[in-house]
């Protein structure tokens, strides 16, 4: 396997990449893991593109940013 690793901004970039899990070691590990998945299971597992609630929930938007915690309604 051949991988050319040339992080932007040199050493600083490489350190930042490591923090965010995008360094060469993690990239290679992820690549090999995906290859194993395809060989064994016929596809690589993903949760990308699955449904998810909005980052700002509807009730909060409606009340103009005021936190409305449903749980407190129950206990009140």
């Amino acid at each position: 396997m051949h991988l050319k690793y040339d992080p932007p901004a040199g050493l600083v970039g490489a350190t930042l990449a490591k923090v965010f899990g995008r360094d060469a070691e993690t990239e290679i590990e992820t690549g090999l893991f995906r290859m194993k998945q395809i060989l064994e299971a016929g596809e690589f597992a993903t949760a990308e593109g699955q449904p998810k609630g909005p980052r700002i929930p509807y009730r909060q938007q409606r009340t103009n940013g005021q936190e409305q915690n449903m749980n407190q309604e129950v206990t009140a």
């Binding site: 899990g21 993690t26 590990e29 992820t30 893991f33 194993k36 998945q37 064994e40 299971a41 016929g42 596809e43 690589f44 597992a45 993903t46 949760a47 990308e48 593109g49 699955q50 449904p51 998810k52 609630g53 909005p54 980052r55 929930p57 509807y58 009730r59 915690n69 449903m70 749980n71 129950v74 206990t75």
Partner: protein
């Protein structure tokens, strides 16, 4: 569709989210007819499991009808009625092949993170944080089920949803906990925690040949339910608890002890107060009070079986006692697919009707209130099932 989404500690909401789509050739889409809240969902609700993101859909106990299948799905077809086990399994890796489905190598897309934390990653789980794959859960109207040919079990019509739903998690989990005890005829098994998993562990222990089961809890209705299951019930708030367990077992201790509580043990004992204090300032991740007691109570050469979830580094666990007494410890997520067929057969035979554990039947819309009640064990709540399409 409507789905129950996580927004933070004790903050879950029912939101309108996009419908799930087929993303991989082995996927299926299920229209959910019944779903449930699990005790382990409360660890998410209380903020003890890292790797959650705002908007994540919770829920890993669900069943329903197949409405769409990916191009490589051969076993399931549209219209099939299925129960979906909470572990997502590829069916072809080493671990699936040796029947250790919960350890599947290939279904956690975020395996790298768990590998850094734990040294290895097990199977992806529905609705159980991004550590376990970030899969959308089943407290929703529809769910995407990856590797649909492997996990889900087809259920024929004529048997109500409520009787088979718990094949998804808590029945196999209680059963595996009892199986892990390696019970021999005449054994005495002690079960800490009379929540749903504890209830199934009690009944499974009897099915597997235990002569007596001691059940330990503090909540009256759960203790009563354990009694109905044939257990002798003890109160964990009793300061003589350990002495009583010894007395009831001829001074020897139970042959096996099941910790069906896990990381959020309650109780006003000295060690638990210590755990609360450390946990509140993030010096400890778990409160292993029950595990400590299970180890101390167990007879020499016995087994401690741990279906309760632990997540981090445990403090002051009497490992010396475990060693000195030559204990066997067995634990882990449930290899759910392994148990679906045999346990469905038991339900058919009438050995057990798992719906006994249900205390609340609500609409998905009421899920936030249900979490609140279940978490406080209020309103005699032992188990909540939710109907996604009820008004």
């Amino acid at each position: 569709m409507k789905a129950l989404c996580w927004y933070g500690t004790k903050d879950v909401r029912v939101e309108t989210v996009p419908d799930p789509e087929i993303l991989n050739p082995h996927d299926a889409i299920i229209r959910i007819t019944l779903t449930a809240i699990c005790g382990s969902d409360l660890h998410l609700y209380n903020g003890y499991i890292p790797g959650m993101q705002k908007g994540d859909i919770l829920g890993h106990e669900f069943m329903g009808e197949v409405v769409e299948v990916g191009r490589d799905v051969t076993r399931l077809k549209k219209g099939d009625r299925v129960v979906v086990p909470f572990t997502i399994c590829c069916g072809s890796c080493y671990f699936c092949q040796i029947d250790r489905w919960s350890l599947c190598d290939n279904t956690n897309p975020n395996a790298t993170v768990l590998r850094k934390l734990y040294g290895a990653s097990g199977a992806g789980l529905f609705g159980y944080s991004h550590l376990y794959g970030g899969y959308a859960g089943g407290q929703a109207q529809y769910a995407r089920v990856p590797f649909a040919d492997v996990g889900p079990i087809v259920i024929e019509n004529g048997i109500p949803d409520e009787q088979v739903l718990f094949l998804s998690d808590i029945f196999p989990t209680g059963y595996m906990a009892a199986e892990n005890c390696n019970i021999k005829l005449g054994d005495v098994v002690a079960v800490w925690g009379c929540g749903p998993v504890g209830q199934f562990a009690i009944r499974s222990a009897f099915m597997l040949g235990a002569e007596r089961v001691l059940a330990i809890d503090h909540i009256p209705e759960r203790m009563e339910m354990a009694r109905q299951g044939g257990a002798e019930v003890l109160d964990y708030a009793d300061s003589d608890l350990m002495a009583k367990i010894r007395e009831l077992t001829g001074g020897r201790g139970p042959d096996s002890c099941i910790d069906a509580v896990g990381m959020e043990a309650h109780g006003a004992t000295l060690d638990n107060v210590y755990d609360y204090a450390k946990q509140s300032v993030f010096l400890e991740t778990d409160r292993p009070g029950v595990l400590r007691r299970a180890i101390m109570a167990c007879r020499k050469g016995g087994t401690v079986s741990i279906p309760g979830v632990y997540g981090g580094v445990l403090d002051k666990v009497p490992f010396g006692a475990a060693f000195a007494k030559g204990l066997t410890m067995k634990m882990g997520q449930t290899d759910a697919p392994k148990y679906l067929r045999p346990l469905l057969d038991r339900i058919h035979r009438g050995d057990i009707d798992p719906s006994f554990v249900i205390s609340h039947r609500l609409a998905l819309q009421d899920a936030p209130q249900a979490y609140n009640i279940f978490n406080r064990k209020a309103d005699r709540c032992t188990k909540v099932v939710l109907q996604p399409f009820a008004a």
